[in-house]
Symmetry: D2
Subunit: 238 residues, 4 copies
């Protein structure tokens, strides 16, 4: 059984009434519930727990970590970012959601600024499939629409993705690489654009389908063994 | 001096009055003229010339070939496609324009169907930079707009580009990888979306700038020497 | 149950005694047998069957096709290459083995010459993992060795792989991208270097493990639906 | 004129007699001298200078930075790593040499551990071209040999390169992606394997040729302008 942990900053839901109205139990709640219904062992962790709920023991048993943050990226302790990065390189999957493009862990793994254009006027996004053979796009029919979403626009300062699977069209005139896959060490990383806190997009079936697909894709799988460091003896006689 | 050859099917300009009105000397003419003004040794070849104007001697001295075709892709002889492909693999640059997405040479080099969605209602395209460090995007300020263009939309059945440099936003709701770079053998290939025959887009300064950038990028440069075939003698004593 | 078809040219085994001694039932036989033991519905087809054993009906029910050819690439009918290519783009997996680097179907899908250096003196190859998180490398411990293999060496004229998973070291002094993954349309393509007809390498457990991993990786999976062609109606009111 | 700065840790040359014997003026000296002879405005900076010789003013006028470090990676101040990273993302080229695979700046830009296998027994490396059309390989004839080099071997924990241009063969039985190109923001990054401090490899013509090629490739070029941040006004009427 795949162990999935949704890490949510969980501050907007406490301080902003309009967010609370949409996500009374936190924006992680509908995702966790959906993943459980799909047979995953899903739970949540939040910023204000000790060690942000991300102790070494918790991470060691996590197969896929989802990350949502926004107003408090800077409060995440660097030592815990180190810990999450090490787990990703050792094979844990990581799904980076919406405003977590600016989280310490995503910037750490990308090596770039992860800056972008943004505008929050509740415009429509149409999310187009550009990699129909990729398991993350499974079940989508050419595209899906999100009635109201914060616009994120290019140029998005990320390394060219190992695979770009979605490109978003915004009614206000922008485009965005809304679904981007990376391999880092043995781990798989997926950035997914939707999920502004004031819109009910984590209840939308297509968004949940993509996240579920991504969890399956990013989960650890059988793999090679590799060692590093000093190997003083050559493999061939010299 | 870089030798540039614009290969144009040159049929619409003869048979369609509305195209003739826009491009009285062929849609290659404003591009060739612009490239000359930029210091390139530019000329044109067309389908109805002997060997389509693409003799081995012509190709051997061509540094960068531009290709526009639409209604007569099937009339291009396979032996000449072989010849062009061989030159690309040996280092000639190739710029594939608009409806040439469906040319024999592009399909040959891609290995895929190169199918796409299309709609010609004269809608606006906004072409966004997604690779600001790439020389093909030089001089563009975030994006440029084309007032009227044929919509080409995803899914575009091409191999994931080695570098995607532009993504197009269409007013009718679609997106497209409008600028896509490939390395094939020693040659560089650039696909560029704009250029429907009924709109004056090959007179637009940004379109001409991108094509000029692409010609410079695709031109042969100093490179490594590599041999193939049978090398019976090992490099190490065994 | 995954349907796997090993297409073997099956000529060396009839004409060369030394090959017959190693593979009395064809070099496909140990692979097919191994795949069956692993729970796949595996069978074989060969060049000299009607339509090379690759009728449309056979291809339509094939999930993953393996391809080995060498001395008779030119005898494969172009119409059947078309058919195989179309199936790959529509999602069938394709595993291209050893000298099939020069098969029509591989050259068709790559768009390049697929030329390389070669030398057959029975030297050692050591196949190194360069993508330990990739499912095709599962179960390999840093590298595996092949006692005697034909050398294939760089430069190998292929598009840069979407993922390079193995790099081969040859005792005679060469290197080679021995495991290369491509996405083409909805299909997945894997090129794997080992398998010269005079050595018993298709009996070697690590080689069989990699082929089995590749079959699982390339098998069709749930995916997106995409349409092409003319869509005259915009998705947005203009 | 391109401004090139070779940053050298410059400690081994002071503390180890065998290194001093090979590089009496620092291992940067032959490279700086060669670059000057090629027409570059080349100079050096070292760890023990104030701000490691990398003040903001110095970086602002640097087009391409070369980096060699080994025993004192941890002494490089994080604030200066931030500064270098920001300059790379804004377009400065970066050439990362040999043991700088483990420098803070390279790990920062890669997001991975950058770990590898190593062995220093003075074995032969043969560096093979795998991207003959790439300007960094210009002038190399299939491969070049280094008589004695420290072995660096796979698995090398880096993101898959945007372009792999060299693969190294080591006499002791290992392989390595010895030349790896990345785009990060507007900057270009090249990792190059050769350069152990006890061997005179920075005097070798092929090594100098590759470094010179890389400097030209990584130097800033005309490019697009892109802005980030908040753009409250849509580009289209909604």
């Amino acid at each position: 059984m795949t162990n999935v942990l949704f890490w949510n900053e969980f501050r907007h839901e406490k301080s902003h009434k309009e967010v609370q109205a949409v996500y009374p139990n936190g924006l992680h709640a509908p995702v966790v519930e959906h993943l459980r219904a799909q047979g995953f062992n899903a739970s949540a962790a939040t910023l204000d727990e000790p060690e942000h709920g991300l102790t070494q023991a918790v991470l060691d048993k996590t197969d896929v970590l989802l990350w949502w943050g926004h107003m408090a990226h800077h409060e995440v302790q660097d030592a815990i970012v180190d810990r999450v990065q090490a787990r990703v390189l050792n094979g844990m999957g990581l799904i980076v959601l919406h405003s977590a493009h600016y989280s310490k862990i995503f910037k750490r793994l990308m090596g770039t600024s992860c800056s972008l254009k943004w505008r929050d006027i509740g415009e429509k996004e149409r999310v187009w499939v550009v990699a129909p053979g990729h398991p993350i796009t499974a079940g989508i029919d050419n595209y899906f629409e999100i009635a109201h979403e914060e616009m994120y626009g290019e140029y998005f300062d990320i390394p060219q993705p190992d695979e770009t699977v979605f490109v978003g069209w915004f009614a206000g005139g922008n485009v965005f690489r809304s679904g981007a896959c990376y391999n880092r060490g043995k781990g798989r990383v997926f950035y997914f654009q939707p999920g502004h806190e004031t819109y009910p997009n984590y209840y939308q079936p297509e968004v949940l389908r993509v996240i579920t697909n991504a969890v399956s894709w990013a989960a650890p799988r059988p793999w090679a063994t590799v060692q590093y460091d000093h190997f003083p003896k050559p493999l061939e006689a010299l």
